[in-house]
């Protein structure tokens, strides 16, 4: 990565950290779930509202390090309109592409906290749906 690319990636992350998108609780969410890393006190709660099987609205609240909070913000911009199945397929590469591999490698668990929480929330939503059908 060139110095210019790295600087652009840094600015992208710092912008999401200082001006988080889709930030706030969602009172009428279909599901919300908290995830956290007690060792470094990063916390993220993801809120999701669905239309059919697709994410209609997403928001988050949280506190913690630059990377964990910027990742949550940047991710919410990407997943609107995705199906639960598509989100379940997202992996480390998705986060690396979003934030830049070099920076993600420095704190992989902080960078993937919101994705892991999101995927757990999707599972929770599926369980709730199954329980509702029984």
């Amino acid at each position: 990565m060139s110095d210019f690319d790295r600087q652009a990636q840094l600015e992208f992350i710092l912008d999401h950290y200082q001006n988080p998108r889709n930030h706030g609780e969602m009172a009428d969410a279909d599901v919300h779930l908290e995830g956290g890393l007690p060792g470094c006190s990063d916390l993220v709660t993801m809120y999701l509202k669905f239309e059919g099987d697709r994410v209609a609205e997403v928001s988050f609240v949280g506190e913690g390090c630059t990377i964990s909070q910027a990742a949550a913000s940047a991710m919410t911009e990407q997943i609107k309109g995705m199906s639960a199945e598509e989100i379940a397929d997202l992996d480390f590469e998705f986060v690396s592409d979003l934030l830049g591999e070099e920076i993600v490698q420095t704190r992989p668990r902080c960078a993937t906290l919101s994705l892991e929480t999101l995927k757990a929330a999707i599972q929770e939503h599926r369980k709730n749906q199954i329980r509702g059908k029984i």
Binding site: L37, G39, C40, C65, T66, T106, R107
Partner: protein
């Protein structure tokens, strides 16, 4: 700072503000948050990162002597530079970096009392300009093994009935936290603590209002009733050795305990060691791996 055993290892924010342009002083920010420095830092401060700068990139260890010399040279630090560490999270990783500089024999080291939190709270300036310093030629000494222990020495400490201080949160100590719902396993297979260890969370040593260290009297009251006394050999540990660096600093420099060591392998090693003894004080649910 009156009453600390070695006050020369601690400076206040006022002192730092007065030495921003002192060529014999190098400020070094060492944070848990990898990009916090980039959001703004004390003018003239250089950055180190515990994971990408201070550790070996391949094996689980600190960087070696040659790499440490390279780091200091790159930061323009020479043997007579006074290095002042500060950082986030009440100076966890500032103490971690301080410990490493002592490990390689750097003579003049200080911690900025209250860390980044206090500096910001006082409305002091933060800048985004990254300074560059002329390279120096640095020669480190061999690692000082009197301040570090490995797992075999921890086992000997258990057998000798000598004090171990687990500085993690009470929930980590009891073994409760590692299997909380939705929380990752924190890099250890098992929860609990090293047998015989007493739990004195690092956070008890600081004032919540400004992240400064508590008074010597308050610190003595914290450690001595639990058998952590200056006449004994003490080992501190946490999860990866950063929070225990903080306690190591408190015991060694603020209270003057002569024999304090940091077990940097800490719980992420002990909680994964096959056949290592563990004490656990929470009821484990049947069928739920801890």
């Amino acid at each position: 700072m009156n009453g600390y055993a070695h006050p020369e290892y601690l400076v206040e924010t006022d002192w730092v503000a007065q030495h921003l342009n002192d060529p014999k002083v190098r400020l070094v920010e060492s944070d848990e948050d990898y990009l916090l420095y980039e959001t703004g830092h004390i003018p003239g401060a250089a950055k180190v990162d515990w994971f990408t700068t201070l550790q070996d990139p391949i094996k689980r260890d600190f960087l070696n002597k040659e790499a440490f010399e390279g780091l200091c040279s790159q930061l323009g630090i020479s043997r007579d530079t006074t290095v002042v560490f500060y950082g986030d999270k009440n100076n966890w990783f500032a103490c971690y970096a301080f410990w490493l500089f002592e490990y390689f024999g750097h003579p003049n080291r200080k911690i900025m009392n209250g860390g980044r939190f206090k500096w910001e709270k006082e409305g002091r300036p933060l800048v985004k300009d990254v300074p560059s310093y002329p390279s120096a030629t640095y020669r480190a000494t061999e690692p000082d093994m009197t301040i570090r222990v490995f797992r075999d020495q921890v086992m000997q400490q258990i057998q000798a009935g000598l004090p171990l201080v687990d500085v993690r949160s009470p929930q980590e100590y009891t073994g409760e936290l590692i299997h909380m719902p939705n929380y990752p396993q924190e890099g250890a297979q098992r929860g609990g603590h090293i047998p015989g260890a007493v739990n004195i969370p690092w956070s008890k040593a600081v004032n919540e209002s400004d992240s400064t260290f508590k008074t010597p009297e308050a610190l003595r009251e914290l450690y001595e009733p639990k058998g952590v006394t200056p006449d004994r050999e003490i080992i501190a540990y946490c999860r990866i050795g950063e929070r225990s660096s903080h306690t190591w600093f408190v015991l060694k420099y603020l209270l003057g305990y002569p024999h304090v060591k940091n077990y940097d392998g800490s719980w992420t090693e002990w909680g994964n060691l096959v056949n290592a003894p563990i004490e656990k004080t929470v009821q484990q649910e049947k069928g739920v791996p801890a």
